[in-house]
Symmetry: C2
Subunit: 403 residues, 2 copies
């Protein structure tokens, strides 16, 4: 019952129709047609013979606002599995998809039902469900989860148009990232694990100022206006998804520097839902207690403003959760390995794996703070969840044979 | 090189002069004479043959104000060594001394140079060094430490007079408790370990009200007046000793109940000096870091106001210290053993020994809060220190023989 990788045995950009080997199951390709002028699309299904059978992928949903570090997160996740994530080779250079040996990450912007012009005409933002085709999203995620190949649309962020589709074959792990992975109940129910990246307004504002004002020369007023314009739809359609997430990474301003508004030093919370199958929340020192921990002191000499951890049980949208929080940033490797050595349930395969992963990508944004640490931890958790599912599938027939 | 107990082989209330066995060393008895009318005393030394040789005792100093739980502490300490502490059998019923198999605890009030009348005449309090004979205190503690028997004065708390002396033979552990164990530099230098019980003014006041108003019918005004009258001498002569203590138990009002002034729920700190030979401070989770811990949550359901621990490095009178703090109280055994299981460097001989000790004396004051817990822990630390000294002494000749 080994899981084969579609990417190593088939061409990614053609449906697996050319070869039919004995023992391989029939597969469907879920495709779509689009009318680029009107922005209308139609979803449909046709049956193909596929060249290889893959296991049904584990499906992960990652929700966040645009420009909030989802791609960094995805690069950390695929790195945990050992491979680098790259855009599909030879396809549309503006494809939003990232593929590694184990993982395919698609961007849900590809399910925009309205292109930029269409949204302008109808007066809706990309955040608005009316600008997105949830029926097709559901059908295609469901098809992938069932092991079928799909022809997924591409939303071209450069042109603002809907480009011709690309073929996506079922990977081991299929990640849907974007604005609405948990918005539609049908899509939500397909997710084996879901994550919400929650950047607080203060931090978003500081980041946007940093990027748009310093790097792009926008005015403070125009930045404020663009945030304000976006906020009602964000609050109505994006933010409420966090209640469904199995894990939320919440990014807040530091509390170590009084009245800090630079958004450089961050306080990051990893909110982990309790009672989720195959997901054991990480804990600090004593599972279920409330803890604060300042590891700087006799053993580590952290520079100002230092590092502070907190851990404890809490309630989040009526769910019991465990929250791990890190305020401040790492100066050196010593601090990171020291912190790792005091966290439990990390789902690492060897001592120091979190630190090794963080060091490997020291140049990624957030590598010295809680965003990088918690993204890495969630990556390990997803690997663990995936391996549990594989083991269960491998174990199931054996169990049946015993009876 | 076994340490023999003087109490089991000799009568406590006569100097060991009657029997002289081969192999026993000559001992001195340091005695004193007193003039009960004038309150004057003279210290001196005479040589006696003693009946048994005892090792040089380990000397412990315990400083605290009157009525601040020293006797409870001493009962907890002697219990750690397995025996109950009792007044000397057949002696002065108003003796302030407590003796167990291993430990002799003397009260330094016995070194008052002025009796109650004398103090009144001279207008000095018992806290005033002028009311105390530090020369005799030094000579006798030194003599005991050198393995000599002493004739120690008795201050009769009932009559306020100086009673005829009692004979004290060197025990394994000799504890001097009272107002001034660390006041005189010569005495201080004799101490192998020193402890200061530091009850905050707020708690002292609450306790005094509870006892003197509720139980003895004193007026609030008279209680306030008596505390105020005592305070200048206390601040001048008693309080400064805490800077010399190896361990300080500080008792403060709770911070779990806003504006609490009942003094029933306590916040207790165990301040442990770093770098003290044979004393490894207790720590919580991670030595040298700053930690807070609320063990109530998923595992323990503590009733209001709960329990909160804190641990971390600090500075105390210019010394580096580690501080362990407990705010709140235990409801049940579960909580105590759970807390014990998360503390390190406790110097227990088996898992759960702290809890067992606390349960054995559940009726002692402070058994459900940090005073009892930290007194018990300090007791274990003293046992550990004693055993290290014994091991060193036993090891020393062997080491020498090797050379």
């Amino acid at each position: 019952m080994a899981i084969c990788s579609a990417h190593t045995t088939t061409s990614l950009h053609s449906p697996c129709t050319t070869v039919s080997n004995t023992g391989f199951r029939q597969k469907q390709v879920i495709f779509f047609t689009s009318n680029r002028r009107s922005g209308r699309r139609h979803g449909g299904a046709r049956t193909f013979q596929v060249s290889c059978s893959v296991e049904k992928p584990v499906v992960i949903g990652l929700a966040a606002d645009s420009g909030c570090g989802k791609s960094t997160f995805m690069r950390r996740l695929t790195s945990v599995f050992g491979g680098a994530a790259e855009p599909p080779k030879g396809g549309n250079p503006d494809s939003n998809t990232l593929i590694s040996d184990t993982t395919t990450v698609i961007c849900l912007d590809d399910y925009h039902s309205l292109d930029r012009t269409g949204r302008k005409e109808k007066g809706v933002t990309a955040l608005d469900p009316r600008a997105n085709n949830f029926d097709l999203m559901y059908e295609q995620v469901k098809a992938i989860k069932e092991g079928q190949t799909i022809e997924k649309p591409i939303y071209n962020h450069v042109t603002g148009l809907l480009d011709p589709p690309e073929v996506i074959t079922p990977p081991k792990i299929f990640v849907i990232e974007g604005l609405h992975p948990m918005f539609d109940e049908r899509v939500r129910d397909l997710l084996d694990f879901s994550i919400y990246l929650d950047i607080s307004d203060d931090v978003k504002f500081a980041w946007k100022i940093q990027r748009d004002m310093a790097e792009r020369g926008h005015s403070l007023e125009s930045i404020k206006a663009s945030i304000e314009a976006r906020k009602p739809d964000f609050d109505a359609y994006i933010d409420p998804q966090k209640q469904y997430a199995d894990a939320v990474i919440e990014v807040l301003p530091t509390q170590l520097i009084p009245d800090d508004n630079e958004g450089k030093v961050l306080r990051v919370k990893l909110i982990m839902k309790e009672g989720v199958k195959r997901f054991n929340p990480v804990y600090l020192f004593d599972e279920g207690s409330s803890i604060t921990w300042v590891p700087c002191g006799r053993k580590l000499t952290c520079s100002y403003p230092g590092i502070k951890f907190a851990y404890g049980p809490d309630s989040y949208f009526g769910h019991e959760v465990s929250v791990l929080e890190m305020d401040g940033q790492f100066d050196r490797l010593d601090e990171l390995i020291y912190v790792e050595s005091h966290l439990s349930n990390l789902s690492t395969k060897f001592y120091g794996e979190v630190t090794q992963q963080m060091l490997k990508h020291a140049d990624f944004p957030g590598s010295n703070n809680g965003t990088g640490l918690f993204q890495t931890i969630v990556g390990l958790k997803i690997r663990d969840l995936y391996e549990q599912i594989v083991a269960e599938r491998a174990g199931a027939p054996a169990e049946a044979a015993k009876v």
